[in-house]
Symmetry: C2
Subunit: 199 residues, 2 copies
């Protein structure tokens, strides 16, 4: 397999983490997230959204959207639940991630930590922090009496939500008011086979 | 089943359309999308994001996120593919929908058609139109030589993407430059069992 990747992207981290847990060998093609001028050349015909991650399968087919890739690689393994309602709840958390977590935390992190433009985006950051806090509140409430997001096992839902939640401080968020989120972040990072963002 | 619904919401339409196709009887609980002050009372403990649609199942369990609900209701029926790669591609389009279509087209439509505040949001609308056009370009390119988004059958991916794409003109978009999108919108609306937004 070949992963069109960016090393700083939490969306790409999700896929790298699951590929590592499943022991799947793959090649990386690194794409720039600041200079996107080659996106059409590299990803045209592979991913309508021209974004990373995009995965090239062994049969030459392509698959895009980090959470769809997690589902494809994970289904049938211990990382995707078998019960129909738990499967749907794993999807529920992954759609929540793409709608509430990523657009707030990932975008704020991109402006602050990747572009170094905190001052330039000061006004928009207020909205991102508000939205991100709402997302963190929802995760905190859910994890208050649970170890993992779905059922009682670590799953692709945890991989998905962890992707940007664990780097929320790089996006200007304070995780101090979120003890259940912090404990869950430590649980994920303590798992055998965990790979850090930079690996 | 009981659907926490808003009649003007494209996200809720998706669920109503699939419930109708499957012949599932359900009760509607209508929630306001402007005055959200009762959200915690009505949806607290049911949906961490406090949004519609939220579905109460016959066994008293709750499920949230429109696309996760489509998967739960549709899996095992003709509306969800059986091939693993096609299943993942249905998810790919649904994640694309929640990341690229909904935040641009649905939000612009909310400001213009629901709140009637086009002038108030004039500056932000520019960004929504740009993002929405990028999403429409991606859909147009994909549908140029296809009848349906995934494989050669109508699926939950079409239901999902149709939800807000077919009301894009209410959001200030001109669909004239998108003939493949317009033809696909007509194909969806011509299907037996189609329910319009207002039904």
């Amino acid at each position: 397999m070949r992963l069109y990747n960016n090393q700083d992207s939490g969306n790409c981290w999700k896929v790298r983490q699951l590929l590592a847990l499943l022991g799947i060998e793959y090649e990386r093609v690194e794409l720039d997230v600041i200079d996107r001028s080659n996106r059409k050349d590299v990803l045209g015909g592979k991913n309508p959204a021209l974004r990373v991650p995009t995965l090239e399968l062994d049969n030459g087919e392509y698959l895009a959207e980090s959470n769809a890739i997690l589902w494809y690689l994970g289904d049938g393994t211990e990382y995707v639940p078998t019960d129909p309602l738990e499967r749907a709840r794993a999807l529920q958390w992954m759609f929540f991630e793409q709608y509430e977590v990523e657009p707030n935390i990932a975008v704020a992190r991109f402006w602050i930590a990747i572009l170094g433009e905190r001052d330039k985006h000061a006004a928009e950051l207020e909205g991102k922090w508000r939205g991100g806090k709402r997302a963190l509140d929802a995760i905190e409430g859910h994890l208050a009496d649970r170890d993992w997001l779905v059922g009682d096992a670590f799953s692709i839902a945890d991989i998905s939500v962890y992707g940007y939640t664990h780097v929320a401080e790089e996006a200007g968020f304070d995780l101090e008011p979120y003890p259940a989120v912090r404990a869950w972040i430590e649980r994920v990072a303590a798992r055998p086979g965990y790979v850090p963002m930079e690996a």
